[in-house]
């Protein structure tokens, strides 16, 4: 990506107004760069409400950056973002974000329940007193991910999968309509993967929208109904059965997938 292209992309957003749509998350003409190198280039996306979406692509494809920039957590060079037809800042209480587990220091002095209570910040505010009802709410969220017995455990003493479930419980406490999860299945045990997918499917059944940055191609067809294939640019997005094809995957991974690998995936027929 040369700097002239980035400059063009920077002007890309000038003519764009936030898309008028009720989509939980829509992005138009978004470019994000770290220095000279584009991480996400001229990206258009509209997530259908009530869907379960996987964002798929190789390492360094800008999957996490796409989510972070949409949330305004990293600055974007250009582009417009809207959530539920409004500015993201106006609807933050309807969005829950689960960062990568490795992005925080689990040595932090906090118990499991302290972390889940962070999800109630909107209710508690700066100085609001944490009442029994808040604690009950947090415990209920922990129960949903099978972690209620660990509520007073220090977070550093949990396994990776348990830590991931604590993060999911915190997101549940936010009671959001849009869930953005960054690699929720990375490096977790089978039980956690099962619990996580069950919780996400029940959220979807309640009409909420789920978007996961996902790395495991073998589970895409089983877990998700919608897929976004990207490698800095968007390659394709749409229903899994239409878009998750061998051709699109080869385009996403630059032809680096072996035929044997592709054969193992339950791909849509092209």
């Amino acid at each position: 990506m040369n700097s002239a292209a980035l400059e063009l992309a920077a002007r890309d957003g000038e003519t764009l107004t936030p898309p008028v749509t009720e989509s939980p998350l829509s992005v138009r003409g978004m470019t994000v760069s770290y220095g000279e190198k584009a991480a996400v280039f001229s990206f258009d996306l509209s997530i259908p409400a009530g869907s379960m979406v996987a964002i798929v692509g190789p390492n360094g494809a800008g999957k996490s950056t796409l989510i972070k920039a949409a949330l305004g957590a990293v600055p974007k060079l250009s582009g417009a973002v809207a959530s539920f037809g409004q500015d993201v800042d106006a609807v933050r209480h309807r969005i829950a974000y689960v960062p990568q587990r490795a992005s925080v220091d689990w040595d932090f002095p906090a118990r499991v329940i302290d972390v889940v209570m962070m999800g109630l910040y909107r209710d508690l505010g700066l100085l609001g007193f944490a009442r029994k009802r808040h604690r009950d709410q947090a415990i209920a969220c922990l129960k949903r991910v099978g972690m209620d017995e660990f509520s007073t455990r220090q977070i550093g003493q949990l396994s990776g999968g348990q830590q991931q479930r604590v993060f999911l419980a915190r997101a549940l406490a936010q009671n959001a309509d849009l869930y953005l999860l960054d690699e929720p299945f990375a490096g977790v045990d089978a039980a956690t993967e099962r619990t996580t997918i069950d919780v996400l499917k029940s959220l979807k059944a309640e009409g909420r929208t789920i978007v996961c940055v996902h790395h495991d191609l073998t589970t895409v067809t089983e877990y998700f109904d919608h897929v976004v294939l990207m490698n800095i640019r968007k390659i394709a997005d749409g229903p899994v059965e239409e878009v998750f094809t061998a051709d699109n995957l080869q385009a996403t991974y630059g032809g680096r997938l072996a035929t044997a690998q592709i054969d193992q995936l339950h791909l849509a027929s092209t």
Partner: protein
Amino acid sequence: MSSEFVQLSLTPLLIGIFAAIACALPGNFLVLRRQALIGDAISHVVLPGIVVSFLVTRSVSTWPMMVGAACAALLAVGLIELIRRLGRIEPGAAMGVVFTSMFAGGVLLLEQSDTSTVHLDVEHALYGNLESLIWFAADDWHSLLDWKALSALPPELFRIAIVAVLITLFIIILWRPLKISTFDEGFANAIGMRTQLLGFALVVATAIAAVAAFDAVGAIIVIAMFICPPAAARLMTNRLETQIFWSVFFATASAVVGYVAAGYGPLWLGADNAVSAAGMIATVSGLILAAACCFGPHRTRTSAPLASGDQ
């Protein structure tokens, strides 16, 4: 004995305690954010700030010096950011470059300028003048009820007391945002917290604590108080709320034990002169940290290694 204590020791002791607490409170967050060096950096760059403001105003009155010190602290923070971005090096290295060169510049300025007539020297900057903050007007404990005697208290006491109260309020009011953004900045951003502003506010609070404490007790104790009590407190508990109370307790204990040991310890050992109170307070805080490392109930950790995220 009691009258001597009130006259000679009460104010330095209180100043030491307030300074220790004002530094230890933000220190908790600095240590958890792995920014402990910020306190170190700020307390060093205070020196050139004070010297420059002396050269400009030609007086050793407090307020211009505090303004000078605060300006130097903010300049240093800006320079650190600049070097980090332009040089693309890690923050620790940027801080190291900035604060050592600014401190060295301050020492050179101090030597070259005509400051020999006033009480402004390198030793003072490092060790402070805790012992000289005497309450001349006091007779005994009853002076605490005597308005005239109270008004003659060293002004340093009021300054550091006000700063300690302000820092405490800052921590109480911004408790949840500070805690959440220190643990998980990405999440804090996502729920709409202004994490950069919070980080800056923490640095400003640190700078205010450092400048006020530097004025009373010198650079060494300031550096020690930012790091030692919070680091020791972390080893005593696994809850941030409890950690804060431990850090205040350790800060107070360092100030009291250090001051008493410096004033009376050498005499008990048969020496003639007391040793530097600031130096002894810093030493005691280090000893407390060492003890916490050996005997603290939560010194073993089993956390996952920290890795940087995928893009």
